[in-house]
């Protein structure tokens, strides 16, 4: 187990370097890193040259990358367009997005798994077909459309929620945005649970459990669910990283000042340090979530042996 963790950690390193380098290159090659530093105006050539020297932009890209990463590991993520350190932006943005992600994950677990179990146990029934159709529709409607529609209905027409989230972004305010963020994954968790339950329901060990004379409830909870939820739990685990990175659209619709909002601002203003900094953290979150999921396997499924 210990050796496995170390091996996985070592394997994460090239992925981490590759992904951050890729983003670093994209931002540097495609954009003008100092464009945002003089406010909304164009920098005059003298200032530009001075800024370039100050940020080491006259050096080759790979050297810039190394310098940048070196700084990152000492906790220095650079400066944002408004002169604030990027770490300060992170300190205000990440808690908001983490709350949003938690709400989304809770929706996935509670609604997704419940619907999946119900439909999986009653495969082919009207309930099953109905839920299945709804999941397809949810998957098909792009998140930004779902978000705009919910905002229109709940926020504008019925007045159940405020159309935009305050800067506090409390859990209560994040319920609807969380549902929007979760929607596609939610539909997917439902389908995955349904398939898994339906497949395991026909398995030999469930037949054995019935032949042992166990009550139906016990067969389902102790034997069927335990096995069927393994892929679902792991999907939800890996989804954490995807949700945090995919929150841009939801945060824009509901005007939530989280990670997506800051990234969007950073990209519009071509602020290299903000974008690369946030992406670096998101990639790390994604990799760590994946590692944890792999380790979770061993806990959930004793057949998995890490050699």
């Amino acid at each position: 187990m210990g050796r496995y963790v170390i091996r996985r950690l070592l394997q994460m390193i090239p992925v981490f370097i590759g992904a951050t380098l890729l983003i670093f290159l994209m931002v540097n090659v495609m954009g003008d890193p100092i464009a945002g530093l003089c406010g909304d105006r164009q920098c005059d050539p003298a200032t530009a040259a001075q800024l370039e020297k100050e940020f080491g932009l006259d050096k080759p890209v790979w050297q810039q990358y190394l310098t940048y990463m070196g700084n990152v590991f000492t906790g220095d993520f650079g400066t944002a367009f408004n002169g604030q350190p990027v770490t300060e932006l992170m300190a205000s943005a990440f808690p908001v997005t983490i709350r949003l992600t938690i709400v989304a994950i809770i929706f996935e677990i509670v609604i997704g798994i419940t619907l999946g179990v119900i439909t999986g146990l009653r495969r082919g029934s009207p309930v099953d077909s109905g839920v299945l159709l709804v999941t397809l529709v949810v998957i098909s409607v792009p998140t930004f459309v779902t978000g705009l529609l919910l905002q229109l209905l709940l926020g504008v027409q019925w007045g159940w929620i405020k159309p935009s989230v305050s800067s506090d972004a409390t859990f209560g305010e994040l319920i609807v945005p969380g549902l929007v963020l979760a929607s596609v994954s939610l539909a997917y968790v439902t389908r995955l649970t349904r398939t898994s339950i339906a497949e395991n329901k026909r398995s030999d060990y469930v037949r054995t459990a019935i032949a042992k004379g166990l009550p139906r409830r016990r067969v389902v909870t102790r034997h069927l669910l335990r096995n069927s939820l393994i892929p679902v739990v792991t999907f939800i685990g890996t989804d954490i990283g995807a949700l945090m990175g995919g929150a841009i659209v939801t945060e824009r619709i509901f005007n939530i000042h989280g990670v997506g909002f800051q990234l969007y601002q950073g990209i519009l203003r071509q602020n290299t340090q903000t974008v690369v900094g946030f992406v670096t953290v998101l990639v790390l979150v994604f990799l760590v979530a994946n590692l944890l999921v792999d380790l979770l396997y061993a806990v959930l499924d004793p057949r998995i042996r890490y050699a």
Partner: protein, 324 residues
């Protein structure tokens, strides 16, 4: 009789039509007796057993007729909850593939102990102690330690012993073993079969042994029921059948066993394939493959003729078969 199946009919509704898996099976087993049910895959032997246990998948399966009398009660008229209490406690089943039949994410101790927790209301701790006793009884070494292990940590033979232990746990009156040794190495097969027979004698249980292996049957069975296309085609005490089969299908099965004294000769094989259960041939279902088939076999379905008091054959020409 401990168990009597009477004129049982089971069919499966699939997208492509109705498959008639069991078409009027009648058999019985007494306490302490071993009945071997013999047949190719698709003959309905496992489906009949699943109907008896009440673990048939419904739908697509459906019991369309017949009775299953267990200790003189018709199981088919019982409520599901009453049947559930009989399952596992009064009758138990051993499956072919122990690896897939045991829950991969629970320890064997949990799975064995569950019988006592559910049916006897024991605490988990007491149930665990009983699980160790059971494992000792089926001669699994170091039971105390291995009770905490998962099924995949055991060898094939040991896993099948655990299945047997699970079936024996509450000392049921009837055990149904569905091809219990098919998935095992030949060397282990004999040991497992011996264990099963020994426990059956000790507890004086009825045993229904479902198999396609005539070799296994000869040593342990008292009676044999041969099934073909969802019907019993021959039913007889074991020594009678080996001496002289009264049905051409049974004869075909016996002739296709390799024998040491016929070295060098070509091995006999029944020609053709088992019938499609959606289109069972009219008349005798075996007639397209039968070397003795006459016109009457294509039109008239043979009843189970009484050969003698203990013996029946569903062949119009059982006399010719018996003496030829």
């Amino acid at each position: 009789m401990l168990l009597e199946v009477r004129d049982l009919h089971v069919e499966f509704r699939t997208r492509d039509g109705v498959a008639k898996a069991v078409n009027g099976v009648t058999y019985g087993v007494d306490a302490g007796e071993t009945l071997a049910v013999l047949g190719e895959s698709g003959s309905g032997k496992s489906v009949t057993a699943q109907a008896v246990m009440g673990i048939l998948d419904i739908p697509p399966g459906r019991i369309t007729g017949g009775e299953i009398l267990f200790q003189d009660r018709d199981l088919l008229t019982l409520k599901e909850d009453e049947r559930r209490k009989i399952r596992g406690a009064e009758m138990a089943m051993i499956f072919q593939d122990a690896l897939s039949s045991l829950n991969p994410v629970l320890t064997v101790g949990d799975q064995l102990g569950e019988m006592f927790v559910v049916h006897r209301g024991m605490s988990r701790k007491d149930a665990r102690a009983r699980a160790v006793e059971l494992m000792d009884r089926v001669r699994i070494p170091a039971a105390k330690e291995r009770v905490r292990q998962y099924p995949h940590q055991f060898s094939g033979g040991m896993r099948q012993r655990i299945m047997i232990a699970m079936a024996m746990a509450l000392e049921p009156k009837l055990i149904i073993a569905d091809e219990p040794t098919t998935a095992l190495d030949v060397t282990v097969q004999a040991q497992v079969m011996e264990l099963l027979a020994e426990l059956q004698r000790e507890l004086h249980m009825g045993l229904i042994l479902i198999t396609h292996d005539l070799g296994v049957v000869a040593d342990v069975a008292d009676r044999i029921a041969v099934m073909y296309a969802g019907r019993i085609v021959e039913s007889a005490p074991v020594h009678d059948i080996y001496k002289a089969p009264a049905h051409p299908y049974t004869r075909g099965l016996l002739d296709s066993i390799p024998r040491l004294d016929q070295k060098g000769q070509e091995l006999y094989a029944i020609k053709g394939l088992p019938p499609n259960l959606m289109h069972i041939p009219p008349g005798c279902a075996f007639h397209p493959r039968c070397p003795m088939a006459q016109d009457v076999c294509r039109t008239d379905e043979p009843p189970l003729y009484e050969v003698d008091e203990e013996r029946g054959s569903a062949c119009h020409f059982w006399r010719e078969c018996l003496h030829g």
